[in-house]
Subunit: 469 residues, 2 copies
C-alpha cells in the first residue's frame, strides 16, 4: 500500500496543493459531480481517506508537543515562553512521618487502623498534596508541576511530613482528667524529621533553599522551624512565625479547608434574611480579643446572628444554615489572624467582613479580595454603630456583585477539585523558583563579609508603616 498519493494520479496535484482545512468543502463539491464513474469516485475516496490519515498522524506528531504531552513528559516549551514544568521530587520519608501519623491518630481514638483514612479537619492540605503527587501523571490534570522519581532531575524537593495532623494526634483531654500514658510525641517527630533530613545529600547540597515544607496549622513544625526556614513553607498565616522565618516572598499562604458545605444555589439576597452571621469562640487571645467586643456590640441587634460555639457536628450544621441565609459573614481575628471561617463564608456566597488587621490571604496575586470581601480595621469596627451603618449601606446590587466574584474564585478553595487548591499551591510555589535558584547560586559564591545587618532582599509595601483603606 502506498504511503503517499501516486504522483501520476489525476488528483495528485490537487492533494499536494490543498490544505486539510478546505477538505470538507471539497468533498461537498465533489458530491455534486454525478458524472464521475464509480471506479474513479472509489479511487478518490480511497486516496482522500489515506491522505487524511497521514494528515492526522503528522498533525499529531510533527507539531509542538500537545498539552497532554507536556503534562506527561514535563517537556520544555523553549524559545518563546522559555517555560518548562517545574519538576518536584517527593521524599520517600520513613512511614512514621506519613501513614504512620494517620495510624497513631486513629489508634489514639480507637479508630479503624486498616482504613488509613486521613481524618477530616481544617488543615488537610498535607494530605491532598501527598495524594496528588502519588497519582499517575495523566490523572494530575492541569498541574503546573511534574513529579520526578530521580532527585537529580528535580527543581524542588517536597517533604511530605503530616505536620498538622502530628500536632493533634493526642486527643485534648479536659483539664484535670488523666488518660492512658502518652506514647506519641509531636516534638520527637519534628526533631526526628530534621535529623533524617540533615542526613540527605540533597538537603545539604543547596542549604535547603529548594525544599518545600508543609506546616498549615499555625503551630505545626514550631519546634524546628528555625532549622527548615530556608525552605518554602506552606502556611496559613505568619501569626506565629518571625520575620526571619517566613515571608510573602519566600513562602505560600494556603487556604484552610472549608468545613461547611458549599452553597449550591445561585447568587441572590432574597433568601438571606440575616444581615450578618457569626458563630465561633467568643474568647480568644491577642488580636482575637476583638471578638468579645464585637459580641457586646452586636448581640442584641435584630437582623444579626452572633453565637458562641465550638467545633462540633451540631455547630457545623447550624453554621451552614446561618452562612447560607446571611448576606454578610463576620471574620474577626482569632488566636492567629486567619481562620477557616473565611473560606466557609466564600463557599456559602456570604460576603466576608474581615476584621483582622494583620491577615495574609491565599493566592493574592490572582485574587483581588476587595471584590469578594469587606475589610474593616479593628479600631473602626469597635466604634458603636460603625459596622452596622457600613453594612446596611451596601445595597443588594453590590452584594450580588460580591457573590458573583465569589463564585468565580471559589474553585481556588476546593481541595477536592482535581484542578483546584492543590494545583494553585504548586503554581504559587513554582513562581518562586527563579528567586530560589538565584539564592542558591548567590549564597555559594558569596565571600566573607562583615555585615551590620542581615543580608536580605525585600519588597516593602509602605515605608511609613501606616496604611489607610
Amino acid at each position: 500500500m502506498n504511503q503517499r498519493p501516486r504522483s501520476k494520479s489525476p488528483t495528485s496535484s490537487f492533494f499536494t496543493r490543498s490544505s486539510p482545512y478546505v477538505k470538507t468543502l471539497t468533498i461537498f463539491k465533489m458530491g455534486r459531480k454525478a458524472f464521475l464513474k464509480p471506479t474513479l469516485l472509489f479511487t478518490i475516496l480511497f486516496l482522500l481517506a489515506l491522505f487524511a490519515f497521514l494528515s492526522i498522524n503528522t498533525s499529531r506528531y510533527d507539531s509542538e508537543p500537545t498539552h497532554f504531552e507536556i503534562q506527561e513528559k514535563g517537556l520544555k516549551i523553549d524559545g518563546g515562553l522559555g517555560v518548562k514544568k517545574v519538576r518536584v521530587y517527593m521524599y520517600d520519608l520513613p512511614r512514621r512521618f506519613t501513614y504512620g501519623v494517620i495510624e497513631s491518630y486513629a489508634k489514639a481514638r480507637n479508630g479503624d487502623l486498616l482504613k488509613l483514612k486521613y481524618p477530616g479537619n481544617q488543615h488537610p492540605a498535607e494530605w491532598y498534596i501527598f495524594d496528588d503527587l502519588n497519582r499517575v501523571g495523566s490523572e494530575r490534570v492541569g498541574s503546573p508541576v511534574v513529579r520526578v522519581m530521580d532527585p537529580d532531575e528535580a527543581d524542588l524537593f517536597y517533604v511530605p511530613f503530616f505536620s498538622s495532623l502530628s500536632l493533634v494526634v493526642n486527643p485534648i483531654r479536659p483539664a484535670g482528667t488523666v488518660g492512658p500514658s502518652v506514647v506519641y510525641s509531636d516534638e520527637v517527630m519534628q526533631e526526628g524529621l530534621v535529623e533524617w533530613l540533615e542526613d540527605q545529600v540533597y538537603w545539604k547540597r543547596n542549604n535547603g533553599w529548594d525544599h518545600v515544607f508543609i506546616c498549615q496549622d499555625p503551630n505545626a513544625l514550631f519546634k524546628v522551624v528555625d532549622r527548615v526556614k530556608n525552605g518554602v513553607l506552606l502556611v496559613s498565616d505568619f501569626g506565629r512565625l518571625g520575620r526571619d522565618q517566613a515571608s510573602l516572598v519566600k513562602d505560600v499562604i494556603l487556604p484552610y479547608s472549608h468545613r461547611i458545605n458549599t452553597f449550591k444555589g445561585d447568587v441572590g439576597v432574597e433568601n438571606r434574611k440575616s444581615l450578618l452571621f457569626f458563630m465561633g469562640n467568643r474568647y480568644r487571645k491577642e488580636g482575637g480579643k476583638i471578638r468579645d467586643m464585637l459580641f457586646k456590640l452586636l448581640e442584641n441587634e435584630r437582623d444579626i446572628v452572633i453565637k458562641h460555639g465550638a467545633q462540633s457536628r451540631e455547630s457545623r450544621r447550624m453554621a451552614t444554615q446561618g452562612m447560607h441565609t446571611s448576606r454578610f459573614c463576620l471574620h474577626p481575628a482569632g488566636d492567629t489572624p486567619s481562620a477557616c471561617r473565611l473560606f466557609d463564608a466564600i463557599v456559602s456566597l456570604c460576603v466576608p467582613v474581615i476584621i483582622s488587621d494583620y491577615i495574609e490571604l491565599p493566592f493574592e496575586d490572582v485574587i483581588d479580595y476587595r471584590k469578594i470581601a469587606v475589610f474593616v480595621d479593628t479600631k473602626s469596627a469597635v466604634e458603636p454603630g460603625y459596622l452596622l451603618k457600613l453594612l446596611r449601606s451596601i445595597n443588594a446590587g453590590r452584594i450580588l456583585k460580591y457573590q458573583e466574584e465569589m463564585k468565580k474564585v471559589k474553585h481556588y478553595f476546593e481541595y477536592e477539585d482535581p484542578d483546584g487548591t492543590v494545583n494553585e499551591i504548586w503554581r504559587q510555589v513554582s513562581s518562586k523558583l527563579p528567586l530560589i535558584k538565584l539564592m542558591i547560586n548567590r549564597d555559594k559564591r558569596l565571600v566573607k563579609r562583615e555585615l551590620t545587618e542581615p543580608d536580605c532582599a525585600c519588597m516593602c509595601s509602605n515605608q511609613t508603616g501606616i496604611h489607610t483603606t
Copy 2:
C-alpha cells in the same frame, strides 16, 4: 450528507469505539478482507474519509494553541502550565525623553542630528529594550513578553526614558575650563519625567508597582528614585541605592555592555601567555580603593599585565589584546561594586577574578558564576602572595572548563543578539509579575495599622551576616 456515521450502519459501533491512533492499522487489516462486497467497501471508505476529516478539524481547533500561535497572539496556555506571555505597554513618552536625549547628546558634540544613532557606551540597555519593543511581533523571536498597544490589556508598563544617556549629555570638561552655557539638565529631565508620569492614570492606579524603569548607570534617575522605587528598576548594581529603594526581589541586575570585541577563537591556554590582566583606573573611591593596593602587589610580577588607563579607543584596543591573551582577568570593585570589565572578560574567555565583596550579578538564577569566575574576598586578596598562589594553582584543565562554561553563557551578555540580553531581561522582569500582582492587590485592601517597622517581605541569605566561601 450526514455529519456522523449512521447509527444503523454495520460499522458504526466500530467507529465510535476506535481512536484515530489505530486507524492506520485498521485499514491494513481491512485490505485483507477480500470477501467484502464493493458497495460495503465503498461505504466504509467513504465513512472513514468523513471521520478522518472531522478528526483533523477537531485536532486542529480543539487542542492547545501551538507554540507559533502563542508567540503571535500572546495566547494563554491555561490549566496545565498556567502560563501566558506577559503583556507590556510601552509609554509613548514625549519625544524629549527618548530621541530628544540622543539629539541633545549629538548637539553637545556637534554630531549628526539627522542620524539619531544611539552612541556606543557601556549602558545601552535602554536603547536595546526600546528598539526591541518597537519591532513588529514576528521579529521579536523568543521574547517572553508581548507588546500591547492598549494599556488596559497590559500587565506591565515600560517607561523608556534614556536615563543613562541623559546623565552624560553634557560632555565632561577638564577642571577649570569653561564651555558654552549649559542648556541641558539631566535633573530637570528626571523631574519632568516623574511629573509627566504622575499625571498618568495607569501610574496612579497601582501606585507604580507594575511600572518598569531603566537606570542602568548607577547614577541614572538618582534625583527621583524615591518617587519611582515601587516599580521594577533595571540597574547595574545596588551600590548607590538604599535597601528601601532596590532589591534582588523587586529589581533586575543588568549586565553592562561589553566594550571590547568577542574572542572568536576556541577555548585553550596556548595563546594565553599572561597569567593575569587588568587595565583601568588605579584610583577609585570606596570599595575601589583596593585597586591601588592590588597595583602595588602585582605590578612587578613577570606574567602579569596590570596597567592604569582610562576609557579611549586606544586603551580599548590594548585591553582587547590583553584580555584575549591572558588566562585570568582581574575584576576589582570600582566606585560601585560592578563594572563592564567583567563582561569584557567573559566574552574574551578570560576567567574573571572577582574581588568585589558586595557585587550583585546579572541573571544569577540561570548562571552559576562559580563555574565561570574565581571569587576572592578583599581581605584575602591583599595578603601578599595569596592571589598569585591561588591563580597559579589552577591548572589548564580547570581553565578550559571555565572557558567552556563562559562560551555557554556568553549569549546572555550579547545585547546585539536578537535572542540575547534583552529577552533575558524580560524573562527576569516577567518572573516578578506574581509578586507584583500580589503587592498591588494586597496594598489596596490593607487597613490602617500602626507598625513599628516597615511592612516588608524579605528573603535573607544568612542571619549571622558573615559568609565564607
